[in-house]
């Protein structure tokens, strides 16, 4: 017991140390001219850039827009991927017909299809949300679809013997047994939702963290570039933590012995 506490303390101290070395190293490296100002920025410079962006009144909107695009893309893409992944196996014929099309669509790299979304939906939020939905859809659809195809037939047979209707089998077996895959889909999708939003902003945009990064890169404003990266990294980490926390809600039986 004591050992575990000790070890945890040690690990946290180690982590703190790594952070201090990185921050202190870049701070000192820049100050004494060891690191190039073009390629690196010190924490203090990044903070100054943050103040400047804040003063301009563009930081919060940029952040908010990217967060909004990502969350909307994640939610809508996941719901769509889940719905199609669950319903398609119920319609054998339709599923056979459209499966190859979906697989080909899924194979297209998102960066290639992004300009099309800009063309369709314009420079604003809609195109970014669209791109995000597009990749999240497949991240959710593929695991859910394959898991519903590989549904445990004995469970279905057991319910049929008890006289269950198709709808009862769908809600009592098909949907719950897809939940582990939904969880997997959410985990993969949450990362991809952010990628989709930022790629959209890279291709063409007027705002968002992607826009800020691209602009900073174009004007050789290295500290703002780092600021954008750090903001995205923190958001990505928080998003991933949130999705992990959904596990006990989606698949409680994997986390606990008791309902």
């Amino acid at each position: 017991m004591k050992n575990i506490v000790k070890q945890r303390l040690l690990v946290n101290c180690g982590r703190l140390l790594v952070l201090v070395v990185i921050l202190g190293g870049t701070e000192l490296g820049i100050r004494y001219g060891v690191l190039s100002r073009l390629f690196f920025s010190s924490p203090s410079e990044i903070f100054v850039a943050f103040e400047a962006q804040w003063a301009k009144g563009s930081f919060l909107p940029d952040l908010g827009i990217t967060v909004f695009e990502t969350l909307l893309g994640l939610a809508a893409g996941s719901l769509a991927g889940m719905a199609v992944g669950l319903l398609l196996p119920q319609l054998r014929l339709v599923s056979h017909v459209i499966e190859p099309f979906l697989m080909v669509l899924n194979g297209i790299p998102v960066i290639v299809i992004a300009p099309l979304f800009i063309l369709w939906l314009g420079l604003g939020l809609a195109s970014k949300v669209g791109i995000s939905i597009y990749i999240v859809f497949f991240a959710m659809f593929i695991p859910v679809y394959t898991s519903s195809l590989r549904l445990d037939r004995t469970l279905v047979d057991a319910l049929r013997v008890m006289g269950a209707t198709r709808a009862q089998i769908f809600w009592k077996v098909v949907v719950p047994s897809s939940m582990p895959s939904v969880y997997t889909g959410l985990k993969i999708g949450s990362g991809l939702a952010l990628i989709g939003a930022v790629i959209g902003e890279f291709v063409a945009s007027r705002a968002g963290l992607g826009h800020m990064i691209l602009y900073a890169s174009g004007t050789l404003d290295t500290p703002s570039l780092y600021l954008g990266i750090i903001a995205i990294a923190i958001f990505a980490a928080l998003l991933s933590l949130t999705v992990d926390a959904l596990g006990p809600l989606l698949v409680p039986y994997r986390f606990s012995d008791e309902k």
Binding site: T154, L155, D157, A158, L159, R160, V161, M162, G163, A164, Q168, K172, V173, P176, S177, M179, V251, P252, Y253, S256, D257, E258, K259
Partner: protein
């Protein structure tokens, strides 16, 4: 109560047809336990699936109370060879599943399930997930799920194969008592000659595929023994064991020769 009348069944594959059952007839009366024993792969599970309505015989009829089976029959309950407990439901929710499918209200069905669990040694495990139960307890929960709908005809497919010897005897005893108390008809598929002799009133021996009825033995042990555990010590038991063994035509010499 349950009657197989001149049943034939074949699986039609893409290339070939596998004849599994050939003109097979036997019945199971009210308050009677029939054990079906036969070589692995001869078609015992297939035979049960014909009674549940999950499959239709190629020729012949399965009758319950003189009426041909057509789809799921509310008078029939089946305990599958594999576990059919839903992992995302607590044990009590699994036990009441059959009643839930029939549209029984939550209050009464929960009461019934809890009462059954009390009666059969699962009190205190109502809220647990199936994975938190031992193998024997899981089997018992599955059995209670089948019993909760009070079937007149009970089909058990190798129900005790995975249990340790002690648990096995306890559950075998329970099952026999349940069958007698409710004046049910019970068909139990097994590989175990002792189990067949100690539980059943009649033992049906099937031949290799395509399966036909090879022999039917009327055996007295189940009714005369105090408990399932006492049956093997009764006079005549070894005799029947030998006769069934011979009827099964298990050629140990042949196996050695092949190896």
């Amino acid at each position: 109560m349950l009657e197989f009348r001149n049943i034939s069944f074949s699986f039609t594959g893409r290339r070939d047809t596998i004849e599994v059952l050939r003109e097979l007839s036997f019945g199971c009366r009210e308050n009677e336990i029939v054990a079906v024993i036969g070589p692995s792969g001869c078609g015992k599970s297939t035979l049960l699936s014909l009674a549940t309505g999950l499959r239709k015989p190629t020729a012949g009829q399965v009758l319950i109370d003189g009426r041909p089976v057509d789809g799921a029959d509310p008078r029939l309950g089946m305990l599958f060879q594999q576990s059919t407990l839903l992992p995302w439901r607590s044990v009590v929710e699994n036990v009441e599943l059959g009643l839930e499918i029939r549209g029984e209200r939550k209050g009464p069905r929960r009461q019934r399930a809890i009462a059954l669990m009390r009666q059969y040694g699962l009190a205190g495990f109502e809220r647990k997930y199936p994975h938190a139960l031992s193998g024997g307890m899981q089997k018992r929960a599955a059995l209670l799920q089948t019993l909760a709908i009070e079937p007149k005809v009970l089909l058990l497919d190798e129900p005790f194969a995975a249990l340790d010897a002690q648990t096995r005897v306890v559950i075998q005893n329970d099952v026999v008592k349940i069958c007698r108390a409710g004046k049910r008809s019970m068909v139990i598929v097994t590989h175990d000659i002792s189990e067949a002799l100690s539980m059943a009133d009649r033992v049906v021996v099937l031949s290799r595929r395509p399966a036909t009825v090879k022999e039917i033995y009327d055996v007295p042990f189940s009714r005369e023994a105090e408990s399932v555990a006492d049956a093997p010590a009764m006079p005549g038991f070894a005799d029947y064991y030998k006769r069934i063994w011979n009827a099964l035509d298990i050629s140990i010499g042949g196996m050695n020769a092949a190896a």
